[in-house]
């Protein structure tokens, strides 16, 4: 009994009423627990902590607990690892994969060493490289194809196991659950990678592979594994069943690979594979970059991948939050950071571009033709970069508009109340709160800040380059139109989302209903553009002005000949321009054979008359209202119309009273007071008891429960 009293003294401070003490006292008849626990634990209260005396890991644990305490004490991680390492499935899978890897490597070594017979042995370094490549490929296959199967089950298993409710009613917030699941899944992968180190050392023995190559490859594999694991965890959180999670993981992974491993693959190719494989072209290209550019080549992809990782993490966390949880603020902050990072990288690439750096500084006292050509090439290159920057900014802002304005408008009561407490200047923070209206304000402010900033930088850098021969519109004009069009288009998409959200009242479907028209508006005109004639200005029904792709083309490029008239809405046709040009080419009376009209093709190009005619033709070809101007007007008018419809005008951009939760449910028909014993009458039929089955992967809050 005294032991029991000692143990209960260690009841957590939050135990409040000390019920556990009573519990222990009340169960005096129950068999005493093994002495090992009570005695040791009883002492733990006054004596040094168990960890310090070696009971739970000793000094090592104490030392490690300082920097890695959050990992060592992560309950999810510990539970997952304990369970996994005791499962036969994990042991069998790991042993099989290692055996397979070893077998393939041994076959590769055997084949290469036997190649050429005993008198003509291949270069050992070549064998080493080949074995290393084979190893890398196997490891990548295992990482990308096998381990996601483990990861994508981690949360769905909780659901199918019916342990999910137990888990989320603990004090563990959603982000700690996802973190634990991610760490556990990553540890499986890491275990395999660590176990293959002795195998890769075989390649090291042959030579041709440096430790830094191995380290870089392992780093890349680790980063890839982390991203794939994050994607699988996201799939696991998004799906209600393991089968769906597996399908989503393996189907969604391929486009995901394209997004992710484009930058990562390029980085690895240039930094690791090309030098190893002796790819001289790549090596030379890399050498041509300055140190700053090389740094950007690493910082850019790594930063991008970090953002992708955090995004997947946030999405997985959001899926585990209840409907009343705030699922928007983290994403919006991430979006802002991503925009800032993207702009910084874009500016850095434009400033440090290897074709432009130092060109101006190397200006000779008397400009030579060669130097002028270099300057022109540099400006074109920078123009390309700025054009790309605009495209990326447009993609990001449109994606943001779709995501944030597609949110459901009805705020959970808790969030609505918090939002309502924002007063004065703090009200501007409402743009980070959930809800389609706040999303609209958020994306509007971001657009109005980002697009002019990019425009000003572009105008400063691109200048007013007027290189008609290049086929590009003068820089200033192109940038100005891009800016205007981008603002109009993003605001239109945002207003469309805000318009649809209260109608559809479902985040995913709302976003799909925004995306479908946009995709249609992009593709349909392109189809016409491909099959239609370029000789005449476009018709209204061609709808070129709706397609962002054609508007981009129209804003940045100019016609180079009289028959490129399709990106104008008004003005002469190509045929009319040709007639006008031919008229100017007609020789004066008396020149040539009498009574015979000479063909314009007989004229030489350096003939002044020809030059005049061609210039006039080009001037006419570039006359009229271009598609991008019409598009800007159309989208601006649509955005204004939708804004008026939505009731969101300038005054409301600052903030409006939050929309509270769903209105109070209609009161039931008068029913007997409690304990009166009368059964409800037929009027309360609406309150049927058997709830309709909600989809298995719906968030907990959306599922009715049969009680």
């Amino acid at each position: 009994m005294s032991e029991r009293d000692d143990t209960t003294a260690a009841t957590p401070p939050g135990s409040g009423d000390g019920a556990t003490t009573s519990a222990a006292t009340a169960t005096a008849e129950t068999p005493a627990p093994p002495a090992e626990s009570t005695t040791a634990d009883g002492g733990a209260v006054t004596a040094p902590a168990p960890s310090a005396i070696g009971g739970e890991g000793g000094q090592l644990r104490t030392l490690l607990s300082v920097p890695f305490g959050w990992i060592l004490d992560d309950p999810i991680l510990l539970k997952e690892l304990r369970a996994a390492f005791r499962r036969r499935r994990f042991l069998v899978a790991m042993t099989s994969l290692l055996s397979l890897t070893a077998l393939v490597l041994l076959i590769a070594i055997f084949m290469w060493t036997e190649q050429g017979g005993s008198n003509n042995r291949p270069d050992p370094t070549k064998i080493g490289r080949t074995v290393f490549f084979a190893f890398s490929v196997i490891q990548a296959i295992v990482t990308f194809l096998v381990f996601p199967a483990f990861s994508c089950m981690s949360i769905t298993e909780e659901r199918s196991n019916k342990s999910f409710d137990l888990l989320i009613t603990t004090c563990l917030p959603a982000h700690r659950i996802v973190r634990g699941k991610f760490l556990a899944s990553f540890v499986y992968c890491f275990t395999f990678m660590a176990a293959t180190l002795p195998l890769v050392s075989l390649a090291f023995l042959f030579g041709g592979v440096t430790p830094s190559d191995i380290a870089l490859t392992y780093l890349a594999q680790g980063v890839s594994a982390a991203l794939v694991t994050a994607f699988a965890i996201f799939a696991s959180s998004a799906c209600g069943t393991t089968a769906r999670a597996i399908v989503l993981t393996y189907l969604g992974m391929w486009p995901f690979y394209l997004v992710i491993f484009g930058p990562l693959g390029a980085m690895i190719h240039y930094l690791v594979i090309a030098p190893l494989a002796g790819d001289q072209a790549s090596v030379e290209l890399l050498d041509s970059y300055s140190t700053a550019n090389k740094t950007l080549l690493v910082v850019g992809p790594v930063g991008f991948l970090v953002f992708v990782f955090v995004l997947l993490f946030c999405l997985a966390v959001n899926r585990l939050k209840p409907l009343s949880g705030n699922k928007s603020t983290a994403l919006r902050i991430l979006f802002v950071l991503f925009v800032i990072f993207g702009l910084a990288m874009g500016v850095a690439f434009a400033e440090l571009n290897h074709e432009t750096v130092g060109i101006e500084e190397l200006a000779p006292t008397k400009p030579t033709h060669e130097w002028l050509e270099k300057i022109k090439a540099a400006e074109r290159s920078r123009s390309d970069l700025i054009r790309s920057l605009f495209r990326i900014v447009a993609l990001v802002l449109v994606a943001g508009a779709i995501v944030f304005t597609g949110e459901e408008g009805e705020l959970p009561r808790r969030i609505a109340e918090r939002l309502g407490r924002l007063r004065g200047p703090w009200r501007v923070l409402s743009i980070f709160y959930p809800g389609d209206r706040n999303g609209l304000r958020f994306i509007t402010w971001i657009t109005l800040l980002v697009v002019p900033a990019v425009t000003l930088y572009s105008l400063y850098r691109i200048g007013l380059i007027d290189d008609a021969a290049s086929g590009w519109r003068p820089g200033g004009e192109a940038v100005a139109w891009s800016c205007l069009w981008l603002i109009a288009f993003v605001l239109f998409v945002a207003q469309l989302g805000h318009f649809l959200s209260p109608v559809i009242r479902h985040g995913v479907y709302t976003r799909l209903w925004i995306v479908f028209p946009l995709v249609a508006a992009t593709i349909y005109p392109v189809f016409w553009f491909m099959i239609g004639s370029h000789d005449v200005p476009s018709r209204i029904y061609h709808a070129y002005y709706l397609s962002p792709a054609l508007v981009d083309y129209s804003a940045w490029s100019e016609p180079q000949s009289w028959n490129q008239r399709s990106l104008y809405m008004t003005g002469p046709t190509g045929e009319e321009i040709r007639i006008e040009r031919d008229r100017l080419l007609v020789p004066e009376e008396g020149v040539g054979a009498p009574g015979r009209r000479p063909s314009p093709t007989y004229r030489y190009q350096d003939d002044p008359r020809t030059r005049t005619a061609e210039a006039r033709a080009l001037q006419l070809a570039r006359s009229g209202v271009p598609v991008h101007a019409v598009s800007t007007l159309v989208y601006a008018l649509l955005a204004i119309a939708l804004a008026l419809w939505n009731g969101v005008i300038v005054a409301r951009l600052w903030g409006a009273p939050p929309k509270t939760g769903r209105p109070r449910a209609p009161p039931a028909k008068e029913k007997p007071s409690s304990a009166e014993g009368a059964a409800p009458d037929g009027a309360s039929d609406a309150a049927t008891e058997a709830a309709p089955d909600a989809p298995a992967d719906a968030p907990a809050d959306t599922k009715p429960d049969a009680g």
């Binding site: 260690a10 519990a23 209260v45 603990t170 009343s324």
Partner: protein, 311 residues
């Protein structure tokens, strides 16, 4: 301790719980009863902060389940109707996991786990793998997990479902013991015998609406007051058949059912009717040994209050 006011859950037009209001005092065992699909689990899940009510309010220990769900989770111990246990870990590790999940400091976990294992009689199973436990033991384990952070309020959804009679009796004893320790318990079930012994207050819910709440005796009294037909048990020393004949002839008596020396009399009348009936028996030279007003038990109340309609 638990205050529920006008709680409503609307699933896009389908109202699973409508305007539910009840209170549970500190230390009470509140039986939440109703047929399958009545809205018990939805109400309980709202109290357990798993879903947010569409309307209304609920507080547990003064904390709002809507505004302060994290604090509520520390206050309550929730045991769902269906739950799974984790494979590959032992009983002690299972409880350690939940203790860590409730942020109990590492050095306090072992003694706490020891206590709850003692309380739930799991001490001998400490090193057993969880998946190897019987259903009853898993139920005890889940209850132990529910107690590991020493909550003031226990919310138990059908805790005895699927248990054999012995395990049910043990569970009842355990709940009584927890109640004696000052825990407030909200327990749902549709097996009324399981609740009738341990609950001091009940709430009857059907089709998402609370039909009656309060002490079992209070509800019974109110039902009796409202009903036109009342019951009384009269025990006679002998001549029960003759007594039955006398009573049957009385105009206020609706029906008489004889069981040995006991006569169960259904009558329509007021409080003066019973003395009058007794007087008639005495005048008929029948020796009356005892008279007891017949009250409904929980099952009878439940049957009277609910209609048995399902959606």
């Amino acid at each position: 301790m638990i205050h529920v006011q006008h709680l409503t859950k609307d699933y896009e037009g389908f109202i699973a719980v409508r305007d539910v209001t009840f209170d549970v005092s500190e230390g009470d065992i509140f039986g939440f009863i109703g047929p399958n699909g009545a809205g018990k689990t939805t109400t309980i899940r709202m109290l357990a902060t798993l879903i947010e009510p569409t309307d209304g309010a609920a507080t547990i220990g003064g904390l709002s389940v809507i505004d302060d769900p994290d604090a509520v989770r520390r206050t309550i111990g929730y045991m769902p109707d269906y739950y799974g246990v984790y494979d590959g870990i032992t009983v002690e590790e299972y409880l350690d996991f939940f203790a860590a999940a409730y942020d109990i400091p590492r050095r306090q976990r072992r003694p706490t786990i020891g206590d709850v294992m003692d309380l739930c009689d799991l001490g001998n199973l400490r090193h057993k793998l969880v998946e190897g436990l019987s259903k009853g033991m898993k139920q005890r384990l889940c209850l132990a997990k529910t107690l590991v952070h020493d909550p003031k309020v226990l919310i138990l959804d059908e805790p005895a479902a699927g248990l054999d009679p012995r395990a049910r009796i043990e569970l009842r004893a355990l709940l009584k013991e927890l109640s004696s320790m000052g825990k407030t318990i909200l327990i749902s079930s549709h097996i009324l015998t399981e609740l009738s012994d341990i609950c001091n207050t009940v709430g009857i819910i059907e089709r998402g609406e609370i039909l009656a709440t309060g002490l079992v005796t209070e509800i019974s009294n109110k039902l009796s007051e409202r009903s036109e037909t009342r019951g009384v048990k009269i025990v006679v020393l002998a001549n029960a058949a003759e007594a039955e004949a006398i009573l049957t002839g009385e105009g206020e008596v609706v029906a008489v059912h004889r069981e040995g020396r006991e006569l169960h009399v259904a009558y329509q009348g007021d409080d003066k009717t019973v003395p009058r009936l007794v007087r008639r028996l005495v005048m008929g030279e029948i020796d009356v040994c005892g008279v007891t007003e017949e009250r409904e038990d929980l099952e009878t109340i439940f049957m009277k209050v609910t209609t048995g309609q399902v959606a």
